[in-house]
């Protein structure tokens, strides 16, 4: 059986095909299995959010996507027209964004926004939809769901809003949930609560969860599988424990050294860091995009880089052997 979501050789460019265009995603491939949390991790500008938006066909104006294969439950998403995609979005595949205040409509109550999803996709009656909304609010840990349904987003705290977003995403029993930095705007204690909830829902409902984050701590704690993105490419992909135990790409190794871990590094010791900054990559860029910052780089890194295997489910994009 094919994976729930399959992305093969995804390319996303902005600004047409002139010399000023940017290649946001460059041949990224990944698959999200049913019942699996797949984390897409990378720093800002690496193309992780754009990848998610390309899957949902929600790219900003000027964004163009191409792929060898982009399929959801075996159906080709590239062939779907806007109407077909609109029937899937919020239904079988749902998305949660970083800032719940900007993704909820401030002019409508929580209840009307939540029920609209079910009424629209499943032609449910208002009563059925309201009952389901109240059930789901309770499910995501909101006390007094009846009260919350009648409230407006600005009356809720950030954590509550994110819970509402999650409940809304679950209205139509999705198979795939795409969450783009769902806890970045939240306080640490609330972040832990929301992640715990997401992990629990993912398990209980057997969701495929594509979780986009820049935080390796989150990856370690919730992901089954990880894809590390850099400058539009997936540079390494592995099962979570494997990636942390045996990172093969110099960028992954560098990232892991940058994270301060209480009790690990003495205060007078410097943290590991990666010199330089992420390059801007145009179309037709050749070789490894990390080579400018990589201490192992040599002249061969300017040419096409092989994808190597470090195990049955572990591959990385680097000329160095594992």
């Amino acid at each position: 059986m094919s994976a729930l979501l399959e992305i093969e050789q995804l390319e996303v460019t902005f600004g047409g095909r002139t010399h000023r265009s940017t290649a946001a995603v460059r041949g990224a491939s990944l698959a999200v299995e049913r019942g699996e949390t797949h984390c897409l991790v990378g720093e800002s500008g690496c193309g992780k959010s754009v990848t998610a938006l390309a899957v949902m066909n929600l790219l900003a104006r000027g964004g163009e996507r191409r792929a060898r294969r982009l399929s959801f439950q075996g159906d080709d998403l590239l062939k779907l027209d806007d109407g077909g995609m609109a029937r899937l979005r919020g239904n079988a595949m749902a998305m949660i964004f970083q800032e719940p205040m900007t993704s909820l409509n401030p002019a409508y109550t929580v209840g009307s926004q939540m029920t609209e999803v079910l009424r629209r996709h499943k032609r449910a009656s208002q009563r059925v939809a309201t009952d389901r909304a109240a059930d789901l609010l309770a499910r995501v840990g909101i006390t007094a769901p009846g009260l919350r349904l009648g409230q407006f987003p600005h009356q809720l705290s950030g954590g509550l809003r994110q819970r509402v977003m999650i409940a809304m995403a679950l209205m139509c029993d999705p198979q795939l949930l795409v969450a783009d930095e769902p806890t970045t705007a939240l306080d640490v204690t609330v972040q832990a609560q929301i992640l715990r909830l997401l992990a629990q829902l993912q398990r209980d409902l057997g969701l495929g969860l594509l979780l986009i984050t820049h935080d390796l701590g989150i990856v370690a704690r919730v992901a089954h599988r990880v894809s590390v993105m850099y400058a539009g490419e997936v540079v390494e992909s592995a099962a979570t424990s494997e990636l942390f135990a045996n990172p093969c790409h110099p960028y992954t190794q560098g990232l892991l050294r940058c994270v301060p871990v209480p009790g690990k590094i003495r205060r007078d010791q410097p943290l590991g860091s990666i010199p330089g900054t992420v390059p801007r990559v145009g179309p037709g860029f050749e070789g490894c995009a990390f080579r400018e910052r990589c201490s192992f780089a040599d002249a061969t890194c300017a040419h096409t880089i092989p994808r190597r295997n470090a195990g049955a489910t572990h591959d990385y994009l680097c000329r160095l052997p594992a």
């Binding site: 204690t189 832990a192 992990a199 935080d215 390796l216 424990s241 990232l255 994270v259 209480p262 007078d268």
Partner: protein, 322 residues
């Protein structure tokens, strides 16, 4: 005990804000900092952690002299902040803020941004200014080629280097860092943290380091204060706080740090859904509505500071060591 004048001394400082209630609503008094006292020794780094709205940024602004305390007084290097002329204050204490986009003039070139504190002093020769700016930019790792650029032409990490250069160009004794790396990617965060540590050692600086990221604070601070609704609920040397936290809020904050260790899952931080509201501080212990171990008396009795060998904790249930 050190006999030298502490770099920062804060005694019984309080500050509230009035928030207009709108057309019909009543004005509300938000308590940002409530009777806080502490000292930071010369060359020390006090990390202040807490969730959004706990008053940590207000505390920073009070110490910088950007806000006046309503009660209590603040001295830096033995001098009253409130009585100091702003030029003298600028030579003693400087800020580095979170968002280097918002804190740098977008229309000014890098060298002019860094020169501004020197120009504002009004008595430094132009040649001297140019020389010191050049030195400082080199010191923070910016090339002279960058000194003619605008902030928008720099990466986030480079912008934060400019902010640090501007803060240090007057050779202050104390730097207040308010979430200096929160807007940065991890690889860049590590660069900036290393730079701040280096500069502190070389120039003998004292830092007040505010962050919501406990792992970062653990790495940079010699002492940590945990702030909750305007008060320091626990203050300890860093090692003690991380090894043996006493206050239940400190414990919850530490539990919510997601270290990159796979297989541990997301911890249950044990805090309820009630979020702290600085306009409505609970009676008794202000943490009791969220506290997992609260007893009936916690909602009535106000906890007093229980001293510790090098700090203190404000919890009724903590043992009295006197």
């Amino acid at each position: 005990m050190r006999t030298a004048t502490p770099a920062i001394e804060v005694r019984n400082v309080g500050r509230t804000f009035r928030v207009k209630g709108g057309l019909l609503g009543k004005d509300r008094h938000v308590v940002a900092v409530d009777d806080v006292s502490f000292t930071v020794p010369q060359g020390g780094v006090l990390g202040v952690v807490g969730e959004s709205g706990c008053g940590k940024s207000t505390l920073a602004r009070l110490i910088l002299g950007l806000l006046k305390p309503e009660t209590g007084d603040i001295t830096v290097e033995g001098l009253q902040v409130a009585d100091m002329h702003r030029k003298a204050r600028a030579r003693l204490i400087q800020p580095v803020f979170q968002d280097p986009f918002a804190s740098l003039n977008p229309l000014a070139k890098v060298r002019d941004i860094v020169a501004m504190p020197l120009i504002a002093q009004g008595n430094i020769a132009r040649a001297e200014i140019a020389k010191r700016v050049e030195e400082m930019l080199t010191r923070v790792g910016l090339t002279s080629e960058m000194s003619g650029r605008l902030p928008a032409e720099l990466s986030g990490g480079q912008r934060q280097r400019v902010a640090i250069a501007r803060a240090l160009v007057l050779r202050p004794r104390i730097v207040v860092c308010d979430e200096p790396t929160s807007a940065l990617d991890v690889s860049v965060q590590a660069q900036i943290l290393n730079l701040l540590a280096e500069l502190r050692r070389e120039l003998g600086l004292t830092y007040l380091f505010i962050s919501h990221n406990l792992a970062v604070v653990e790495h940079v601070a010699s002492e940590v204060a945990v702030m909750y609704l305007g008060r320091f609920v626990e203050r300890q040397p860093t090692e003690t706080l991380f090894a043996a936290p006493e206050h239940p809020y400190t414990k919850a904050l530490l539990a919510s740090v997601l270290t990159p260790e796979p297989g541990l899952g997301v911890p249950d931080v044990g805090l309820g859904d009630t979020l702290p509201d600085p306009a409505n501080i609970p009676p008794g212990c202000r943490f009791h509505p969220r506290c997992p171990i609260a007893e009936p008396r916690c909602s009535v009795e106000r906890p007093l500071l229980k001293p510790r060998p090098a700090g203190g904790v404000e919890c009724l249930l903590a043992p009295d060591l006197r």
